[in-house]
Subunit: 259 residues, 2 copies
């Protein structure tokens, strides 16, 4: 084999392995290019107030982000502030954990939501206007099946810390049973492991509002003897209702609202 | 009397009446000079995330604002954003009111907190670091006795609109019975009128956490047959607990936290 042929083979092998790397390594960090849309001072003031209003749940239901805030939201979710806000909430959660008295009876529980809490669907929403379009279940389900959502870095760190402290971790998601395999695959791919239970919507949960379904599932855990110390979610419907956790942690999400 | 003497008397009378005007007219708008402290990009990112964390209640209890956010909070509460956020929340409240079905049985109720909800204590906090100092009850009580707190403009508009729509308005405050006269005087001075009931802490409420005291008082209203459609407050302890309103509206307040 001539030297040039050997080089070609090496080059092909190199390119082959290069192509494999993104699928072979856990892809736990969101890789998305930051937007720097120009937003006028008036829109900035309005959209900051809009974001206050949705993150405190003052707004109640909203179907899509306001037209004039589309660029603002793109800047936010692709930029430093989303990461910073997420890290702050993880810090709040850890500060609480360090202050609490665990029962150490194997029943100390923490609940995590999945979408926009453990896993980021930014690559999907990037292709769908970051919340500018009305939610469409069909393409989103195709995205879920790909099992390629990256982890939210701050949540992954918090998750690992809680797991090492001995918390039983429950994943309580609005996803359905038929998505169990894809969801487990995605969680492992993004670096999550050793959860106690993954709770998905069964046939009888399909038409319940998230706040009812999630409250019922929390209630079942309480009846099993678990102490729900904390709960992390990007939607108020992850956190409110009944059988709520001792402390609830609202992660940022200005892209969509789930009742 | 010479012409120059007559002019002097008129000038003195003019100055005398000018001095009286601020006390004679309802002073319903916050008059405070906007701060424009220089805040570094890192502090801005950190303090925006801190504000997210306290406004969503992720932070839980916090005694004073973080040192590095003192200038940020001064800029916020004296600037456009506090006004804009407050107006947005009032708008959310009105949008909800327009969507609801009133019972028209004389029992349609709305609850307002007072401090930093109907009345602004910014003139007091301006002299006390805008939340940089630990709360001190003695000077604050002296300030309450002055009965000079201005109205939050957005809340006054909302209040008037609700009153005209036929809501029974309940004022539920952490202030104590001995402050009833000063509180009523201040409310009237700032333009509020025709409330159904002003509920203050009685002797048996003194040592209850706000969230318990306020839940108990809401519960009494429910037992009297009132439908609590909405509740407005700057603290989560105004809004959470039991016997909560159909919808709760969290007003901004990055200056202090009440459990």
């Amino acid at each position: 084999m001539a030297a040039s042929d050997r080089f070609s083979v090496l080059a092909i092998l190199f390119l082959f392995f290069l192509g494999q790397i993104p699928n072979a390594l856990p892809q736990s960090i969101i890789q998305i290019s930051p937007r720097n849309h120009r937003v006028s001072d008036q829109d900035l003031l309005y959209c900051d107030s809009w974001r206050f209003s949705v993150e405190t749940n003052d707004a109640g239901f909203w179907p899509t982000i306001p037209k004039r805030c589309e660029n603002y939201v793109e800047n936010y979710v692709t930029g430093d502030r989303y990461r910073s806000d997420s890290e702050f909430v993880a810090g709040d959660s850890l500060a609480f954990v360090r202050s609490l008295q665990m029962n150490d009876d194997g029943k100390d529980a923490w609940i995590f939501d999945i979408d926009e809490t453990l896993l980021s669907n930014l690559p999907y929403y990037e292709a769908h206007g970051f919340g500018a379009e009305v939610f469409d279940e069909t393409p989103f389900d195709d995205w879920v099946d790909l099992a390629e959502a990256p982890a939210l870095a701050a949540s992954l760190s918090l998750y690992n810390e809680l797991e090492q402290l001995g918390f039983k971790i429950f994943l309580l998601t609005g996803r359905s049973e038929y998505q169990r395999n894809a969801t487990e695959k995605n969680l492992l791919y993004s670096g999550y492991k050793n959860w106690e239970r993954l709770i998905l919507r069964g046939p009888s949960d399909q038409h319940k509002p998230a706040i009812v379904y999630k409250s019922e599932k929390r209630s079942e855990l309480v009846n099993e003897g678990y102490t729900i110390h904390g709960s992390s979610g990007d939607q108020w419907s992850d956190l409110m209702g009944f059988a709520v956790a001792q402390r609830s942690f609202k992660l940022p999400n200005p892209m969509y609202y789930i009742a």
